[in-house]
């Protein structure tokens, strides 16, 4: 069971490796969850549900900045779930997360609480990917559609398309909503979910979020430290002083290792860090997750907040085994991020 008292712990756990979590939207999600958790939500293992239970995945789609600016009206989860139920002609019996990064760990909880459904212990990623179809559910052959998307001004869109067209179709819709929407997708039965799920990850967050727990608890498949050092250059995404270069989506963060070999570590980011080079040699890459932790306060450093002079620790989280298959790396590997390697 996850009650109001567990919320701070889950919130803390969800941020241990999460990037892209704007403070405003995250706090909003925490407050929202706090408001709807009048009765605790039941946390269940997928295998413990009746095999025929319809499970739906819940995820934020779009920009967290937009979420922080244009607040939810509160009925988004219910509207989206009901729409999907109408389309499928059956009631949903459980909610599951797409991934468990920051807001996305809390929105399924909010949906479960709003609808009085249990929350499945696990997620479809084991880490975070930016695209809706980048999940272990997809790897397991489950389609993300039909997908229902609810917007903050009462918008509701039901999307039915080939899975590889979902992202493309979704983006303009999300923009027309104002920048974000709540997606309910991957409808599947509990038995199937048990097969394609990265299990137990919600419990892990609840464990890792406790004060004093080591960060590595939140990394089910292991975490290693790539280096600790100082950011010496941020190329491509932001400028200081008079000479502002046009920001482009891909950017590069150069970290000078402050110990050992003093290597030059380049972190190539396409919204998130997808490749790490040490002295030009690839030492980590997607689908594994690479993140910078501020040495000053232990908080994950967003790519767009990185600036020269910051001291950071670069960590690499090993992705779930499903991601290290050929199919997995096609979906979540470097090439999926436009890096032709």
């Amino acid at each position: 069971m996850i009650g109001r008292e567990d919320l701070p712990v889950l919130a803390a756990g969800s941020r241990l490796f999460a990037t892209g979590a704007a403070e405003s939207s995250f706090q909003l999600a925490v407050d929202w969850a706090g408001a709807v958790l009048d009765t605790p939500v039941e946390l269940v293992a997928a295998g413990d549900l009746p095999p025929g239970t319809l499970c739906v995945a819940v995820s934020l789609v779009g920009s967290t900045t937009a979420l922080g600016e244009q607040l939810p009206e509160g009925q988004e989860p219910a509207r989206a779930v009901r729409a999907l139920e109408r389309r499928l002609g059956r009631r949903a019996g459980a909610v599951v997360a797409l991934n468990l990064a920051a807001e996305n760990a809390l929105l399924p909880l909010i949906a479960a609480a709003s609808l009085g459904l249990p929350l499945v212990d696990g997620d479809g990623s084991g880490r975070v990917f930016p695209l809706v179809e980048q999940t272990t559910y997809t790897l397991g052959g489950v389609s993300s559609t039909p997908l229902a998307l609810a917007g903050p001004s009462g918008e509701l869109v039901l999307l039915e398309t080939a899975p590889d067209r979902v992202e493309e179709t979704l983006r303009p819709v999300v923009l027309s909503f104002g920048g974000w929407g709540l997606a309910v997708c991957y409808p599947m039965e509990a038995a199937e979910l048990a097969r394609v799920l990265v299990p137990g990850t919600v419990s892990l967050l609840l464990e890792a979020g406790r004060p004093g727990a080591p960060r590595s608890v939140a990394a089910p498949y292991g975490v290693r430290r790539l280096c600790e050092g100082r950011i010496v250059a941020v190329e491509g995404s932001s400028g200081h002083g008079a000479d502002v270069t046009l920001p482009s989506a891909p950017s590069s963060i150069v970290v000078e290792e402050s110990e050992g070999l003093g290597r030059l570590v380049r972190l190539e980011a396409h919204n998130e860090i997808v490749l790490a080079l040490a002295d030009g040699a690839a030492v980590a890459m997607a689908p594994d997750q690479i993140c910078m932790i501020s040495s000053a306060d232990g908080v994950v450093v967003d790519v767009d907040k990185a600036s020269p002079g910051m001291r950071v620790e670069v960590l690499v989280l090993r992705a779930a085994p499903a991601w290290h298959t050929e199919q997995g790396s096609a979906l979540g590997g470097l090439r999926a991020f436009g890096v032709p390697l």
Partner: protein
């Protein structure tokens, strides 16, 4: 002039594979920005559009990145890593593929030379391939270009050195005199210990700095590459990456003598000095190329010397003034020397040096400038803005953002232009395009604060260089000489003729009016000098006497030598040459009019002469006093020692106390006067 010269370097050297640095310094990559030393030879070129291709890249390949392989910092860095693993010669990437800063650091760490080109990489690839395939032809092109530029430069040491230092980028050339003192060009040429002679002007502060290798723009790390004599580098441990920041261990593979050096002779075949080229010898072929180019410069330099000499030869006043300047400046020390020279000698060589250092397009001219100017202490901070001439960093300097184009170069270097003729300072401060060197330009600082740097003598090089061109000794042991009329008084109109004869017989020497005669100095050994002066006296149309001073260590002390020469000339009889180091009582007494002492001498010796009818006693007295003892006196007189003793007894009997020093001196003097007759 258009082909390899067997006389200078073996054909094998000309055919030695061309190196990356050569490609950048004077070849198809001229103007490209290079990070790293570029010492690796280039055997072939490979165009790489994806990293997978690297597995088949052979060692010593110049890798040209295009397409995906040049699609950002990560791609270039991975390419550098792979290039390092494959022992490639260099990585050539389009400018803009990546921010230069961090890639420069990685280049430094891996020891892989990285070159950014602005031209179409495919075109670059073809040109590099052509140069790599026919290295001799590529080098010949450079030599030919140098020949053209030297011909344009004409007979001017300053411009010749300017051309050499411009056209041989990465190599520093200096013109030094026989003692190894730099007369023109860059101090950096001597900093590697290249000059075989001593260096009176120390290239201090340059040790360990390689001005030709650009420092990386990040982190204040110095150049990781050591100068000279390095080639190739073994890949470090691939699994862990290169450890440490220092230079990767190198093996020396340079063939041929380096630093290169050629002797420059004057019109009469005498040695004027040497051209010395130093800096990193970046390929086996480079020393040969450099030597060939230096040889090309010998003729203009000899012509320059001849022109200078011709101009000065007929003009005693000019020569004399120059000599006086040298004397007074040498005596009063370097600071005044610098000041006076800077204000009077047009376009002093120091200014040239700063300006031609700043004109190297795309190369870290500023850094080189600051290194070459060896500005000590507090001026060092001016180095920094230029030292970090990584693109983007120059934004702060208006009008400095970019390699200086040909216009800027000509403006700063062209000595005939009005700006240039004022020396480094004026040219740089006013010339916008040529202002790259300004922030660290030593010329500017020198102009603003003369006498600031105690060890800087380059501002005076105009005087010194011209003295050398005239064949004058300016360093090392010199002896002064003096020629004075005997029995007549020289006129002002006589000076040019005297000067001409003296200079001609001594083989090039400064002559100045001094007292009632003419003085000068020469590097000739005193004996030789005295002999030549003897010939001179015979050639002069008037009766004269000459004196030679004691040799002194340098021009600064020549005044002391001159005093001796004057004294000796004064003592020498007409038509004779006296050496101040050989002056004895005879010479001294010779100076005293004979009649004055004859009477007192006679008085002193009269008792002895009365008792000495045969004259043997007087002869014996003289021998004993001159030789300092009876034994040697006996030898000199060819008699037995006892005979001398017996004669001395007789002298004492006459009444002389030979144990009394005063008596001995009086007797000795009197003997000289009387015996000289």
């Amino acid at each position: 002039m258009s082909g390899p010269r067997g006389a200078v370097g073996g054909a094998a050297e000309w055919e030695a594979p061309i190196t990356v640095a050569e490609l950048v310094n004077g070849g198809p990559l001229a103007g490209a920005r290079m990070y790293g030393a570029g010492e690796s030879p280039v055997h072939q070129v490979r165009i790489v559009d994806e990293l997978a291709v690297f597995s088949s890249v052979a060692p010593h390949t110049a890798v040209v990145l295009i397409g995906a392989a040049a699609s950002g910092g990560w791609a270039v860095e991975m390419a550098m890593r792979r290039a390092w693993e494959q022992a490639a010669a260099c990585v050539i990437a389009p400018v803009g593929a990546v921010g230069a800063g961090s890639s420069a650091v990685l280049s430094d760490r891996l020891g892989i030379t990285l070159v950014f080109v602005t031209a179409d990489p495919l075109v670059t690839a073809v040109e590099v391939a052509s140069a790599a395939a026919r290295p001799a032809a590529a080098r010949t092109q450079l030599v030919a270009r140098c020949a053209t530029r030297l011909a344009e430069a004409g007979a001017s040491a300053r411009r010749v050195l300017g051309v050499l230092n411009t056209e041989l980028p990465g190599t520093s050339v200096a013109f030094v005199d026989e003692t190894g003192t730099r007369l023109a060009g860059r101090a950096a040429a001597l900093s590697s210990g290249a000059a075989s002679g001593g260096t009176a002007v120390p290239a201090s502060g340059l040790a360990g700095r390689d001005p030709a290798v650009p420092a990386s723009g990040l982190g204040g790390r110095g150049p990781a590459v050591h100068p000279a004599g390095l080639e190739g580098r073994g890949p470090a441990v691939p699994s862990s990456g290169p450890a440490g920041r220092g230079p990767v261990a190198q093996s020396s593979g340079i063939v041929g003598a380096w630093p290169a050096e050629v002797v420059v002779r004057g019109p009469a075949g005498e040695v004027l000095g040497r051209l010395v080229a130093g800096g990193p010898a970046r390929s086996a072929g480079w020393p040969s190329v450099v030597r060939t180019v230096l040889e090309l410069a010998v003729a203009p330099l000899a012509a320059w010397a001849a022109t200078e000499r011709l101009a000065a030869a007929g003009d005693f006043a000019l020569q004399s003034a120059l000599a006086e300047r040298l004397l007074s400046e040498a005596a009063s020390g370097s600071e005044n020397l610098e000041d006076a020279a800077g204000s009077e000698v047009p376009g002093s060589l120091g200014g040239l040096e700063a300006s031609d250092a700043s004109d190297v397009p795309g190369n870290l001219g500023g850094l080189r400038d600051s290194a070459a100017s060896d500005v000590p202490g507090d001026l060092g901070r001016y180095d920094d803005p230029d030292g970090s001439e990584v693109p983007g960093d120059l934004g702060g300097f208006d009008g400095c953002d970019g390699p200086v184009g040909p216009d800027g170069f000509d403006g700063a270097e062209g000595s005939e232009s009005p700006a240039g003729s004022k020396g480094g300072s004026g040219a740089r401060l006013s010339g916008g395009a040529g202002a790259l060197g300004a922030p660290s330009g030593s010329g500017r600082l020198r102009g603003g604060r003369p006498g600031r740097r105690a060890d800087d003598r380059r501002a005076g090089e105009g005087v010194w260089a011209r003295a050398v061109a005239l064949g004058w000794a300016v360093r090392g042991p010199v002896s002064a000489f003096m020629v004075r009329p005997s029995g007549w008084t020289a006129d002002r109109q006589d000076s040019p003729r005297a000067g001409e004869v003296i200079a001609a017989t001594l083989g090039g020497a400064p002559v100045v009016r001094r007292g009632d005669g003419w003085a000068g100095w020469s590097a000739l050994e005193p004996g030789e000098l005295a002999e030549r002066l003897g010939a001179c006296l015979r050639a002069l149309p008037w009766p004269c006497a000459a004196g030679v001073g004691t040799p002194v260590t340098g021009l600064r002390a020549v005044g002391e030598s001159l005093l001796g020469a004057e004294a000796a000339a004064f003592l020498a009889g007409s038509g004779r040459v006296a050496r101040s180091d050989r002056l004895g009582p005879a010479e001294l007494l010779a100076a005293i009019p004979g009649g004055v002492l004859r009477a007192p001498a006679t008085v002193v010796l009269r008792p002895l002469m009365a008792a000495d009818r045969e004259g043997t006693l007087l002869e014996t007295l003289g021998a004993v006093l001159s030789e300092g003892g009876a034994v040697r006196a006996a030898e000199r007189l060819g008699v037995h020692r006892n005979t001398v003793t017996a004669r001395l007894e007789r002298i004492k009997e006459v009444g002389y106390d030979l144990d009394d020093p005063a008596t001995r001196l009086a007797l000795h003097l009197a003997w000289h006067v009387i015996s000289k007759g």
